[in-house]
């Protein structure tokens, strides 16, 4: 700028600009326009058309993503339910089974154990799932009971005899179970409390089971339990039901035993 602030030209410029600016007073302005603009400025600005389109597209994308997530979340549980119910829809037979009182065998299992209804076998599958268990007390129930709503059941009575649908095909390899080992559809092999086992091989009339957790002396347990169910000690060291095909082999060094029926 000028190195002489008090220069006469600068003074004249300031005075001329000020005089011209002062010609415009508040009363010279278009008041109608003033009011209209002031009113418009007091409103929140509306988003532009492009911004609205982008926002709408974003909302649609978010909704689609949410639907996808829900669909993915639902699909596994539906698949699980289908697998569990599958034996019930293919088998019309039913059985009356006596099972030992289930007890929680995992840290996730409180007093209420929660195997899945579709896997209603005498030996309950060890699971950390929290769905309640359905146990029906109606003798000779059919497979349709698997469609009943899930009801929480507390297993507190020791040695209770529970009638339960028993689709034996629900036993599968690779899963841990607890409780009695089913021998066909009509008889079970009692197992100590908290013992867990898994199926290693299975045929039409036999099944090899490997004990995965043995909390107590199983021979002593069987010696006190099995005779009451009609079992006898066999010469080979296992157990059998006289006059029938039911037999239990001795337990191998690896904790496996084979049951036949």
């Amino acid at each position: 700028m000028s190195q002489h602030p008090d220069d006469d030209l600068e003074r004249r410029l300031r005075a001329a600009f000020a005089a011209k600016a002062e010609q415009v007073g508040p009363h010279d302005l278009d008041t109608d326009r003033e009011d209209a603009v002031a009113e418009l400025l007091s409103r929140p600005s509306t988003p532009s058309r492009v911004r609205r389109v982008i926002t709408g597209a974003g909302i649609l994308a978010a909704a689609a993503a949410a639907v996808g997530v829900v669909a993915l979340a639902i699909q596994p549980s539906q698949q699980h339910t289908t697998n569990a119910l599958h034996p019930a829809t293919t088998s019309s037979t039913s059985a009356v089974l006596s099972i030992a009182p289930p007890q929680p065998t995992t840290s996730a299992g409180p007093a209420k154990e929660t195997p899945h209804v579709g896997q209603a076998t005498p030996g309950r599958q060890v699971s950390t799932r929290s769905q309640p268990l359905t146990t029906t007390t109606t003798p000779t129930t059919t497979s349709t009971t698997t469609t009943q709503p899930r009801v929480a059941t507390t297993h507190s009575a020791p040695a209770s005899s529970v009638t339960q649908t028993s689709p034996r095909t629900t036993l599968s390899t690779g899963h841990e179970y607890a409780g009695p080992v089913p021998l066909g559809d009509a008889r079970t092999l009692a197992m100590p409390q908290d013992l867990t086992w898994e199926v290693t091989t299975r045929t039409e009339h036999s099944m090899t089971v490997r004990i995965t957790y043995l909390p107590q002396d199983i021979e002593a347990y069987w010696a006190t339990t099995l005779p009451g169910d009609g079992w006898q000690k066999s010469d080979a060291g296992g157990w059998l039901v006289p006059g029938s095909a039911y037999a239990v082999s001795p337990i191998t060094d690896k904790g496996s035993l084979t049951v036949t029926w």
Binding site: M1, S2, L9, E10, R12, L13, R14, A15, A16, F17, A18, A19, K20, A21, E22, Q23, V24, G25, P26, D28, L29, D30, R33, E34, V37, A38, L40, L41, S42, P44, S45, S48
Partner: protein, 205 residues
């Protein structure tokens, strides 16, 4: 916005509605609260007249000046979400007014060049200069003969009392350019007035 209006405000008082307000006055604080979003209605109430005067110095006629200021405020309203720094609102507004004024003059020149017959002449009222002193009229006629950029620099410097940095921010040019434009403008003014060339026939805008 390269210069915060808070920094601008700290330097010197500025005119609002024909009176001088301290930068920290209640009116300016109301319109430029640091933490809230820009209250455009309040900004309009406190700075409308000042901006119309600024625009009139740049575009000469009052109706065009009001158009310029209205468009500047509406532009801020449309881009309200982008106004993060409420303290910079006045500087942003001043820059918008200058830019709009420049656009107005450019459109006016274009219209005059191509639609001279159809377009009515846009000129200040015949008596508007008469109301000014002869001395002021002489200076303003000389200013009218300057290029637009130099006129803008002089108006912002000697009417808005803005510093070189503020003018640079308002016009979107460097401080060096401001300095050189101001220097050339003053030299040209002195020459025009010395030659008595500031006649009634001012440069058409």
């Amino acid at each position: 916005m390269t210069v915060s209006a808070s920094a601008v405000c700290a330097e010197r008082p500025y005119r609002v509605g024909g009176r001088i307000l301290d930068r920290g006055s209640a009116a300016s604080r109301d319109a430029m609260s640091a933490d809230d979003s820009v209250d455009l209605a309040e900004l309009y109430r406190t700075h409308h007249l000042q901006m119309v005067r600024l625009a009139r110095l740049l575009v000469d006629d009052l109706a065009s000046a009001e158009d310029v200021v209205q468009e500047a405020f509406l532009g801020m309203h449309r881009n309200r979400a982008a106004l993060r720094d409420s303290g910079a609102a006045v500087g942003y507004l001043r820059r918008a007014v200058v830019n709009q004024s420049r656009s107005m003059l450019r459109r006016r020149r274009t219209v005059r060049a191509h639609l001279k017959v159809a377009e009515p002449e846009i000129a200040p009222p015949a008596d508007h200069e008469v109301l000014l002193d002869e001395e002021h009229q002489e200076v303003l006629r000389a200013v009218d003969q300057l290029p637009p950029r130099q006129r803008e620099v002089l108006v912002l410097r000697y009417w808005s009392d803005m510093s070189e940095a503020e003018i640079a921010a308002a016009l979107g040019i460097s401080k060096g350019t401001v300095k050189s434009q101001a220097s050339r403008a003053m030299s040209a003014l002195a020459r025009i007035m010395a030659e008595g060339g500031a006649t009634d026939e001012s440069t058409p805008r």
